[in-house]
Amino acid sequence: MHAFDYATPESVADAVVMLSDHGKNACVLAGGTDLIVQLREHRRRTDLVVDVKKIAELNALSCDASTGLTIGAAVPCYRIYGDAEIAAAYPGLMDAARLVGGTGIQGRASLGGNLCNASPAGDTIPPMIVLSGQAEIAGPNGTRKVAVEDFCTAPGRTLLGDGEFLVSLHFPAPAPNSGAFYRRFIPRNEMDIAVVGVGASVVLSEDKSTFVSARIAVGAVAPTPLFVREAGDALAGQPVSDESIRRAADLAREAARPISDMRGTAEYRKHLTSVLTRRVVEGAVQRAKE
């Protein structure tokens, strides 16, 4: 690994100063499970690694029935699914937090890091999108909030500007009669990268017979995780039925623009997008009924 300096700022303001001073020659370290490997394999270069784990906001984890869920950008997966209240309230997020790497990776890897790494196949990103996640960003001009679906701009690229970094993720409290689900397809049982991943959240009517609203997002079928707004919108106002769900799955399939690679052909991925969307919406419906 090439030489670099290492800093551990203890406040958001100090981190912004360090990152601004170094511009593109600095990078942010949270769990390190992507960054350290990328530096070692010369896929990234940096003069300064800014370890943000000593900043209180980055380690915050709180859940409130009225204000929702706040997850500091450096909070590792195990803390998220290890919190019984959060796990019960956001099962769709737990589906993904539990399958990022193995146990050793989950001891360090964060949802914030998964988002900033901006892999098209990042497992936690589709569920964060369908749960209407907001990313809080700090930078030289103060803080701003953006929707998770707007965060990734290309493989490995985000909308973070020089001097900016992700502070935390916010999710609204789950609506009554709502449910969310994430599932990926992999040829193995564990420890793999999604061929296709789909997240869905639904809100049902009080009698659980009709979709009030829905959000669907797909991973590994486009340069970034993709929010398929039209697929969720097509469910709104429709009865909970095989027919309505199949229509949403068709729209997700149409929105997918996958490439062919070692994990699967474009055609295979499009087919999987449809099948998984159907199953994931059904899973979300099931949870909304529980």
């Binding site: 030489a3 670099f4 300096d5 370290l29 370890d51 193995g102 146990t103 050793g104």
Partner: protein, 156 residues
């Protein structure tokens, strides 16, 4: 070369200070500077688990941790689990079940399994298999390892 940093840790119950460059992984520090060569370098990218250690109570891949990040942390390596004269129950069960062949992955498996039993003293077979999914073994086919861990439950 950037300046070396002074890092203070507790490793296997003993206070250990070391100097390292920010670019050195915890695995490199353990093996090359501290002569704790039980943790192995397998893939060096977080896939194989051969370098696993317990850091502040959490299982981590030491190849994906910078040595400087260990400042103020408590670390348990395979050297801190049992001794030749007094094997840890997991080590005893690995022997009894012949849960190793070439042995390169074994320290990582024992450390991972210890972290599991520390957190969940009575895991199911499914829980053992999922917990150990981040440890790769190319010899045994895993069954003997899983049986050894299951047999070490309660005894650990």
């Amino acid at each position: 070369m950037s300046k070396k940093v002074h890092v203070q840790t507790t490793i296997n119950g003993e206070a250990v200070d070391f100097l390292c460059e920010p670019r050195n992984s915890l695995l490199e520090v353990l093996r090359d500077d501290l002569d704790l060569t039980g943790a192995k370098e397998g893939c060096n990218n977080g896939n194989c688990g051969a370098c696993n250690v317990i850091m502040d109570g959490r299982l981590v891949n030491s190849c994906c941790v910078l040595g400087v990040e260990a400042d103020g942390c408590e670390i348990t390596t395979i050297e801190g689990i049992g001794s030749a004269a007094n094997l840890h129950p997991l080590q005893q069960k690995f022997l009894e079940h012949a849960a190793l062949q070439c042995g390169i992955c074994t320290p990582g498996f024992i450390v991972s399994a210890k972290a599991l039993l520390d957190e969940n003293p009575n895991p199911t077979e499914d829980e053992v298999r999922y917990w150990l999914a981040g440890n790769l073994c190319r010899c045994t086919g895993y069954d003997k390892i899983v049986r050894a861990v299951l047999d070490a439950r309660n005894g650990a």
